[in-house]
Every structure is written in structure tokens, then in C-alpha cells.
């Protein structure tokens, strides 16, 4: 399982990187960041890029900073950075909670947050986080910079809004207020596997009722997304098990599983209900 041949480029700045991408994108050029998803695909020869643009040498892409109410995560920030909270408050704790579910320790020393987003695996935890929290993605090319909202960014299984010559340089997550609650639940057969189903619930309690609910589900559809029907079932209501159940039922009804076999689709509906309910229960305890 040896990769096919490719030409290797190692830019030192973002400018160089996008210039190289502009040249090679049309010739099957790909960005190499952590490599924990791309290199296995190359080993299986499912991906045969003729060019690799290795961005690991671009120092500015290692930036991780809280600014203007957002956490800016540069393209080369590795999963492992999040193992200890990178910012005070619920967001830092949420990321630290979720990262433990991502693959295994040695993968997390190399794999990157933005790499997961660009790869857009339906069962990627960071994609669920980005979709649920309404992350903003910043893409650069020789044509300039643009920001892409999460709802536009994830387009389907392994598909994003990025153009072939665009480099995802940064993702920005909103920093929650200190009274924000969150709960994450993932089900898989073995620790570290891609999720069979996962859910992320975020809300605040104000005057005894849920405000600003966000409920995201991943692993079951082409890409993780917020489930409006579940959020509607929560908004303005006091947290209680019947309310959580109603939200979970709404989510289970709404999702459209990508598994082709009917019997598996039924299972996905069932475990979505469980995942959403358990995420909400975890949020209530947080």
C-alpha cells in the first residue's frame, strides 16, 4: 500500500502556499497538514494527488488565539492542543471534552482541527462542533480571502465549499458566555472509532428556561448539522426529561440517514434519539 508518485512542495508562508496551490490545484494538488486522513487514502490509492503542498512549515498557521469573542484556530493547530482547555470557560471545556473522542493519542499529535473540517467526514467530531457552534471558516487563495459560514461550508460527505485552489487558513468558534451549558455524546463500537452517531447540545438557562439552544447531530447524515426541529422543541422551555425526549424525537424524525440499507437506516433513527437525549442530559449536568 504505497502511495502514488507526487511532487512535494513545502511553502514557508501563507502567500507561498496559496501561490503553489493556484499552480497545482488543477493537476490534482492537495494540501498536506496532519496527514492522518489524507495519507491513509493515498496508501490505499483512493487519493492520487500529483502534488502535495505541505503547510506544516508555515509558522503563522499554528496560531491559536482568543480575540474579539472568538477562538481563532489556525490550520496547523493539532488536535492534541485542545486536550487541556485552550480558553477559559465552557468553550475550552467543551473542546477538551470532545477531543478525547477523536481517534487515538498518536493521531492527535499530528492531525489538525482545520484538516478535519476540510476533510469533512460525516463522523468527524470537529465538523459537528463547527456546524453546531456556527463556526466561520476563513479561506485564502490567490484571488483573496473569504469567510464561509458553517451552514455553507459543509456540503456533503467529504465535500466542502472550498475551491480546489483555496486553503482553509483558520476556523473561528464563538466563545460562549460563562453560563453556557454543553453536552456531548458519541456512540461507537470501539473507543476511538468514527462515531456511529454523535450529538452536541449547547444552551443557556435564563429565567429558568432554555435560551439559544443549539443541537447538532453527526455520523448519520452526509454532514453534521444543527437540527432546527430539536432546537424549537427546547427553546423557551424549562429543562426536563419530557422536553429533552421531545427534542430527541424531533431529531430522530428529521434526520435522513445516508446508509443505503433500510434496516440500518432504522437503527440510525433510533440511536439519534438516544444521542440527542443523552447530550441534553449531559448539558443539564454541566
Amino acid at each position: 500500500m504505497k502511495p502514488g508518485q507526487f511532487a512535494y512542495h513545502a511553502p514557508q508562508t501563507v502567500q507561498e502556499a496559496v501561490a503553489m496551490l493556484a499552480e497545482v490545484a488543477s493537476q490534482e494538488g492537495r494540501v498536506l497538514a496532519g496527514g492522518q486522513s489524507l495519507v491513509p487514502a493515498m496508501a490505499l490509492r483512493l487519493a492520487l494527488p500529483a502534488h502535495l503542498v505541505d503547510i506544516n512549515g508555515v509558522a503563522e498557521l499554528g496560531r491559536l488565539a482568543a480575540e474579539a469573542g472568538e477562538l481563532a484556530i489556525g490550520a496547523c493547530v493539532r488536535h492534541a492542543r485542545f486536550e487541556r482547555p485552550v480558553v477559559d470557560g465552557p468553550l475550552g471545556r467543551l473542546l477538551s471534552n470532545v477531543v478525547r473522542h477523536i481517534a487515538h493519542y498518536p493521531i492527535r499529535t499530528r492531525g489538525t482541527f482545520c484538516g478535519s473540517l476540510a476533510n469533512a467526514d460525516p463522523a468527524s467530531e470537529w465538523c459537528l462542533v463547527a456546524a453546531t457552534l456556527g463556526a466561520t471558516m476563513v479561506a485564502k487563495s490567490v484571488r483573496g480571502t473569504r469567510t464561509i459560514a458553517a451552514t455553507d461550508f459543509f456540503q456533503g460527505m467529504m465535500a466542502t465549499a472550498l475551491e480546489p485552489d483555496e486553503l482553509l487558513v483558520e476556523a473561528r468558534l464563538p466563545i460562549f458566555s460563562p453560563n453556557t451549558r454543553f453536552g456531548f455524546y458519541e456512540f461507537n463500537r470501539r473507543a476511538g472509532d468514527f462515531a456511529i452517531v454523535m450529538a452536541l447540545a449547547v444552551y443557556r438557562i435564563e429565567h429558568g428556561v432554555i435560551v439559544d439552544p443549539r443541537v447538532g447531530v453527526g455520523g448519520v447524515e452526509g454532514h453534521p448539522r444543527r437540527i432546527a426541529a430539536a432546537e424549537q422543541a427546547l427553546a423557551g422551555r424549562a429543562p426536563a426529561s419530557e422536553v429533552f425526549r421531545a427534542a430527541a424525537d424531533a431529531a430522530a424524525k428529521t434526520i435522513q440517514p445516508i446508509d443505503s440499507k433500510p434496516e440500518l437506516a432504522g437503527y440510525k433513527h433510533e440511536v439519534t434519539r438516544t444521542a440527542v437525549r443523552r447530550a441534553l442530559e449531559a448539558a443539564e449536568k454541566s
Partner: protein, 776 residues
């Protein structure tokens, strides 16, 4: 490590002690030499082009672009190897299997995705893969057959896909069913899975022109029989083919059989005049290395009102995959013969359909036939308990063969020999297991936890294993002039600790420290006859032969010491740590084994009219296999909503006859238990409707990690030494896997409160949810 001495100055004993392994130092320091590390100058790398279709007619193979690729030296198809016959299987009484053998390269037809269609030879492994990707293979698709329980299809014109039907029976089955108080019927399936060692297959072949010897490096498991088969296939004398074992990354039954690739590297080394190296990648391994286990059983038992079995009637369908490989029909034969397990069975009939499908061919995997038969038999016992309303322990008590009935002859042939359970205290084992797990207290805990809403349960399974496959084994024990002892064996090592266990046995018999004993294995050029490592045979067969040979060397040394060196008769002498001493004066005058060996150097020996060399051959013969046995208890926690299963506790008990090295036996039990766990919950080779394999990476073929494994409590008993060999040994290589599927299934039934719910392995979350949904 305390010295177990029987008296002041007595020889230190090693058998029965958990001494550290002799094998370990190179392996922990990065000096392991597995096949991929072998590199000969000017070697070529072989890469196999494999079929992408499960069944079809080969229309054309175009290698022109491959031949033009950088570094590519040659490309072969079936037309280039017409002189090489299809791969044989072991001798058997079962007729009709020959037409179903696999050719080394597909001829006219492809029958499974992964079947070798062509081979490419190139200067390095990267280039070989590039060139292989350029070979064009056109296949005209034919209908695929993916189920062995559907009627057979066409293998080739005039021949269907059922090479054989295994039939065994004894007793009055019809009478049993007529007299029955009740009949229990089950339809059970075991999923397709296999050994999947962490090292993929790989071998390197080299032809030495100076000696006219074809060398194959990396061979294992059955070096001598493999050598003989290769020699026959290539038209060479066995003496001109040498197999060399290096470090081996696990066998589990699937490594070390002759596969097409082994023959092709040898043929290529001969024809191309350069060493040829082939290292399989993981994707290939999962679709081309032997699969195993997949069977479907429709079983019924006639029982009396107390739950005793009057008769068992089983029909099963064995999914062999596309061809009959080197094991012939041994796996279904063992399934059939071992089905009654440890239970009394007055009447019995089994019909085993040995059927081909368009999947990777299957063969033996640790505990072959027995993982399957134990799952079936133990599910049956649980069902009988439910039917008559007794508990799962009591139903076993009522049916287990009693110690007083041993040796117990079953009127059955398995692998062409009669089946005699040599020794065993099954009821005693059951008692020990229940005591060890604290069964009654466990039941109380489970009841409390269930009342609190948890789906937690316990399962129990009993099993009988086979070990010590004979009929014979021989070694030569030699002491050299430095006092180093060499045990020359025809055994093989797949990582299980052969060198240590054999050294321990030799050390005790001879009177030396085990660290002075070097064990040679896996070399066909150093010993004429060998039978390898499989069927849990090495400790029993090679160990017994070693014991016999070492005792002969001991006697020889003492005799010469008595006559030439010590003023004593032979019976007054002992050997302690390599020194021959007087029994009552162990710190008195002595002579070393080294000195005796020197005294037997050729000139000195011949001068005294003796045979040179302090050495002796030892042969051990047995007509029957030994039958170790054991029981497992599993405690599981089921998440009813997701169908997830967590194994909270596990007890694996095994009677090994005599444990040469308890730490190593425990290692075999735990390691094999975890493989069994894989088959119970995680591992399965799945195919889509076109016969394309879906589990070709470690992301899809799921093996347990440390996270999934409970602490395994191991109980090794030595209650029933085998009467069939001098040390009472039984093998442990297949000791922990056999009953895992059954124990986990039983525990899951208990946890969800649905006896008989689990009828299929592996129990995936989706399948468990389906079971729970059906109950509503």
C-alpha cells in the same frame, strides 16, 4: 524467581515455573527479524495483481504498460506457470476435493475478489505496486454465489459448488426423537472472521547456485510438509529445498500454509535468477489470507423431562469460499466431530455441507471447528435449560461426562482417527469455575442491578479442545564441548515461546539451567523430519520427544561419568546444573557435561569403541490427541438503547494437564480469549451483493483494542494430566478462544432477559437492537 529445589544440592527444576522467555531480548530491542526485514542483494519485489470481480471469465490480461513501467522486470500470468499444478491439500479420506484446488494464478476463471491473476516483478516495492496497477485485466462477469445455505451453484461446467458432505452418526437417533419428552431446535450462525496476525504474510525466495538449493525464508508452521509440497510442485527433490524461519508475527492457523504467492516467489527465484521478495499489504491480507469460521447450523436435540440429551441432530453449511485450500475439509470435519463437546450423547447425527462461495477461501483459525461447534452446542444447552425450566448450570451438570467414565470413547472419527477423551474432571472444573467467579453472589448482584434498571447478565460456557496432534515427533539433543545444549527440533515458532518451553523440559530431564539450552526450529536443512507448530502440538509432541531424548543423553553422560570419571555406579550419580555429582555429595568431586562431551569427541570416542557425540534422538508417538477442557464465565452490560455491549468481567478456566510455564499458558489463554471476543462482538468479513469485500482495512475489520477488553481472570488447573505422554502435557495454544462466542451470547441473553435471543455472531449493536425491537 525462586529456585524450586527438592533438597540441598538438588537440581533446580524449571517445568512448572513462570520463567522469563529466552526469545524476548531481540524483540524488545528492535532486533526482531521478520520477513520484511530480510534483504538480499539484487532482490526483486513481487506484487500480485488481484481480481476485482468475485466471479467471472478472464477475457484478457494486458501487461504491456506494466512491462514498460520503471523498474518492472517481468509480469507473469497463468500461461507462464502452466507446469505448476494447483495447490494440494493434506491427505484425507474425504473424496472428491481435487477439482476444487486453487491454481497459483487464476486460469480462465476468477472466483473471488483478491484472487491472484498476475504477478509483477520490479526493483523495489513502490515500483512493483505502480507496475501492478498498470496491468489491465478484463473480466466477463458471472453470477456470484455468496451464501452456503442456499443451494449449490456451478463451480465449472459439470461440477457444482458442494465438493463434499461430511456425515457422521452413531446410536439410534430416530428412537431418541420418538422417546423424547421435548425437542429443542435452533438456527445458529457464526460470522466470517479469521486470525489476522499483526504481521502480514511475506516470504523471500533465493536460489543458491553453489548448492543447487532453493531457499524460502519466512516460512513457518509446518516447514517440512511445506517443503515437500513446494518441492513436488516445482519438480525438485525435497533435499534441494530449504525453508528458514525468521521471527514470525503471529500465526493463528492462517500463516504458514502454502498459498499461491509462496509458490510463485519460489518459481520466480528459480527462473529469474534473482532473489524474490513478497510482502503482502494489509488490504491484500484481509482479502487473500485464509478466512474462517463462517457456518450456519440447524440443530435439534431430543431431551428427556430432566433436560438430558437423548440425541442430537445437526445439519450445517460451511462457507468455504472460492476454493479448497491446504486443509481440505478438515474444518467442517472437526466441527462435526466436536459438536457433542463434553456431553453424554447416546445418539448423534451430523450432516455438514462443505460448500464453495465467491469469497476468500477459508481454512483453520485457532480452535478451528471448535469455536463454531462450541457456540452451537452451548447455545443448545442454554435452550434446553430454558425449555425444561432448570438453570444453565444444572443442565450442564446433568449432561457432562463424568470423571469416572474417562477415557471416554465417542463412536466418531475426527481427522481420520477415533475420538477418545483421554482424561477430564468436567464436573470438578465447573465447580471450580463457579467458586472462582462467586456465581451465587454474582447472581445476587445481577438481580440487584437489574432491579435498578441495568441490563446486566452472566453467561457460562463449557468446552473441550483438541491438542497434541501426532502421530509422531522427534528431536535430537546434543551437548557440545562448552556444555551448551542444543535441542534440534522440527517444530516451528509463531511467537508462542517454543524456545523457552522446550528448553525448560530439556533442562529438567537433563539437569541443566534452561538458559543454557538452545532450541532450533523452523529449519528443514538441519533436521530430516518435522511436523511443525499447529493444533497445539508443540509442547505435547516436541516436548515429549525432548523429554525422551534428554533422558537418553542424561543416561549416556552418567554412564560415562560412572565408568571413566567418578568412582561410583550410575545410580549413585545425578546431574545438577550441568555437573555430574554424587547424589549424597553434591559439593564433592564432579565432572561437567562439557567434559563428557569432549570425552566423546570423535577421536577419543572411537578409541574407546563408542559412538562420537554426547547426543541422542528421542521419538514420541501417539495414536490419539489429548483433550484439554475448560469453562468460561462472562458478565456483560448491555446498553439497550444503542445495542452496545460492554464486557465487565471474564473468567477463563482451562485444564492444561501440566503447565510447563504458567505465565506462558496464561498468555495464550488471555490472547486467545481476546480473539474470541473479537469474533463474538466485532470482527466480520462482510461482502456486498456483487461479492466485493467491504472489510479490507483495519477501519472496517474491527479488532478489540485494550479499551474493549475486560480484565481476564485466568484459572489454570492441572487436574487431568494426559495419560498419553510421559509428562502429562496438554497443549495451550488454542486454550482461551473456543468458548468465548458461547459465553458472551449466554451473558447477553441473560442481560436482556431473553433466553435464546442471540443466534448469530458477531453481536453487533444493530443486530442487538433488532433483537430487542422484535421482542416488543
Amino acid at each position: 524467581m525462586d529456585a524450586a529445589k527438592s533438597g540441598p544440592g538438588a537440581a533446580e527444576k524449571f517445568v512448572g515455573r513462570s520463567v522469563p522467555r529466552l526469545e524476548d531480548l531481540p524483540l524488545v530491542t528492535g532486533r526482531g527479524r521478520f520477513a520484511a526485514s530480510i534483504a538480499f542483494p539484487h532482490q526483486l519485489h513481487m506484487r500480485v495483481v488481484r481480481s476485482n470481480h468475485a466471479h467471472g471469465k478472464i477475457i484478457l490480461i494486458d501487461a504491456s504498460r506494466a512491462l514498460a513501467a520503471p523498474g518492472c522486470v517481468a509480469v507473469w500470468t497463468a500461461a507462464d506457470v502452466t507446469a505448476i499444478p494447483p495447490i494440494e491439500f493434506r491427505p484425507t479420506h474425504i473424496q472428491g476435493l481435487e477439482p476444487y484446488r486453487q491454481p497459483v494464478l487464476a486460469r480462465d476463471f476468477v472466483r473471488y475478489v483478491g484472487e491472484p491473476v498476475a504477478v509483477v516483478f520490479a526493483e523495489d516495492s513502490y515500483q512493483a505496486e505502480d507496475a501492478a496497477d498498470l496491468v489491465v485485466v478484463e473480466i466477463e462477469e458471472l453470477p456470484v454465489l455468496l451464501s452456503a445455505s442456499q443451494p449449490p451453484g456451478e463451480f465449472e461446467p459439470g461440477r457444482d459448488t458442494e465438493p463434499a458432505v461430511i456425515r457422521k452418526k452413531y446410536g439410534d437417533l430416530d428412537g431418541a426423537f420418538r422417546a423424547a419428552h421435548a425437542v429443542v431446535e435452533l438456527d445458529l450462525s457464526i460470522g466470517r472472521h479469521s486470525g489476522v496476525p499483526l504481521e502480514t504474510r511475506g516470504v523471500v525466495a533465493r536460489y543458491d547456485t553453489t548448492r543447487d538449493v532453493l531457499e524460502l525464508h519466512g516460512g513457518t508452521k509446518r516447514p517440512h510438509p511445506n517443503r515437500d509440497l513446494l518441492a513436488r510442485m516445482l519438480g525438485r527433490s525435497p533435499a534441494s529445498v530449504h525453508l528458514y524461519e525468521c521471527h514470525i508475527g503471529g500465526g493463528f492457523g492462517v500463516r504458514g500454509e502454502i498459498y499461491p504467492e509462496d509458490v510463485l516467489v519460489c518459481a520466480a527465484a528459480l527462473r529469474l535468477g534473482r532473489p524474490v521478495k513478497w510482502i503482502e499489504d494489509r488490504r491484500e491480507n484481509l482479502m487473500a489470507c485464509n478466512h474462517s469460521r463462517q457456518q450456519r447450523h440447524r440443530i435439534r436435540a431430543a431431551i428427556d423431562a430432566e433436560g438430558r440429551i437423548l440425541g442430537m441432530d445437526d445439519e450445517f453449511f460451511h462457507d468455504q469460499g472460492a476454493y479448497v485450500r491446504t486443509h481440505g475439509a478438515r474444518v467442517p470435519d472437526m466441527t462435526a466431530g466436536m459438536l457433542p463437546g463434553p456431553y453424554r450423547m447416546p445418539a448423534f447425527r451430523v450432516v455438514g455441507h462443505f460448500r464453495l462461495t465467491n469469497k476468500t477461501p477459508a481454512a483453520t483459525y485457532r480452535g478451528p471447528g471448535r469455536y463454531e461447534s462450541t457456540f452451537v452446542c452451548e447455545r443448545l444447552l442454554d435452550a434446553i435449560a430454558a425449555k425444561v425450566g432448570i438453570d444453565r448450570v444444572e443442565v450442564r451438570r446433568r449432561n457432562l461426562i463424568a470423571k469416572a467414565e474417562m477415557p471416554y470413547t465417542r463412536p466418531l472419527d475426527v481427522l481420520d482417527t477415533g475420538m477418545v477423551l483421554d482424561s477430564g474432571d468436567y464436573a470438578g472444573m465447573l465447580d471450580k469455575v463457579l467458586a472462582r467467579i462467586g456465581w451465587n453472589e454474582l447472581q445476587r448482584q445481577i438481580k440487584r442491578r437489574k432491579a435498578a434498571g441495568e441490563a446486566v447478565g452472566a453467561g457460562l460456557a463449557f468446552f473441550v479442545e483438541k491438542s497434541g496432534l501426532g502421530p509422531v515427533d522427534g528431536v535430537r539433543v546434543t551437548v557440545d564441548a562448552t556444555g551448551t545444549v542444543e535441542v534440534l527440533t522440527g517444530a516451528a515458532s509463531v511467537g508462542q515461546g517454543v524456545e523457552t518451553v522446550i528448553a525448560q523440559i530439556c533442562a529438567d530431564a537433563l539437569g541443566v539451567d534452561y538458559r543454557r539450552v538452545r532450541v532450533v526450529h523452523g529449519r528443514t536443512d538441519r533436521i530430516d523430519f518435522g511436523f511443525g507448530a499447529h493444533a497445539a502440538r508443540v509442547t505435547v509432541m516436541t516436548g515429549s520427544a525432548t523429554h525422551i531424548a534428554a533422558l537418553k543423553v542424561r543416561a549416556k553422560a552418567i554412564e560415562i561419568a560412572a565408568s571413566d570419571f567418578m568412582e561410583a555406579t550410575a545410580d549413585a550419580l545425578d546431574i545438577v546444573d550441568g555437573r555430574i555429582v554424587r547424589r549424597n555429595r553434591t559439593d564433592g568431586p564432579s565432572v561437567t557435561l562439557a567434559q563428557i562431551a569432549s570425552a566423546l569427541s570423535p577421536a577419543a570416542a572411537i578409541a574407546k569403541g563408542r559412538e562420537p557425540g554426547l547426543s541422542a534422538d528421542g521419538w514420541f508417538h501417539t495414536d490419539h490427541m489429548t483433550y484439554p477442557y475448560g469453562a468460561h464465565v462472562a458478565v456483560v452490560n448491555v446498553d439497550r438503547e444503542t445495542g452496545g455491549v460492554k464486557v465487565e468481567r471474564y473468567l477463563a478456566a482451562y485444564d492444561v494437564g501440566v503447565a510447563v510455564n504458567p505465565m506462558l499458558v496464561e498468555g495464550q489463554i488471555v490472547g486467545s480469549m481476546v480473539q474470541g471476543l473479537g469474533g463474538a462482538l466485532y470482527e466480520e468479513f462482510l461482502y456486498d451483493e456483487s461479492g466485493t469485500p467491504l472489510c479490507v482495512t483495519f477501519a472496517d475489520y474491527m479488532q478489540p483494542t485494550a479499551h474493549e477488553v475486560p480484565h481476564v481472570d485466568v484459572l489454570i488447573t492441572e487436574d487431568a494430566p494426559s495419560p498419553l505422554n510421559p509428562l502429562g502435557l496438554k497443549g495451550a495454544g488454542e486454550s482461551g478462544i473456543t468458548a468465548v462466542g458461547a459465553a458472551i451470547a449466554s451473558a447477553i441473553d441473560d442481560a436482556i432477559g431473553m433466553p435464546g435471543a442471540v443466534t448469530q455472531l458477531p453481536v453487533t449493536p444493530q443486530r442487538l437492537r433488532e433483537i430487542l425491537n422484535r421482542a416488543r
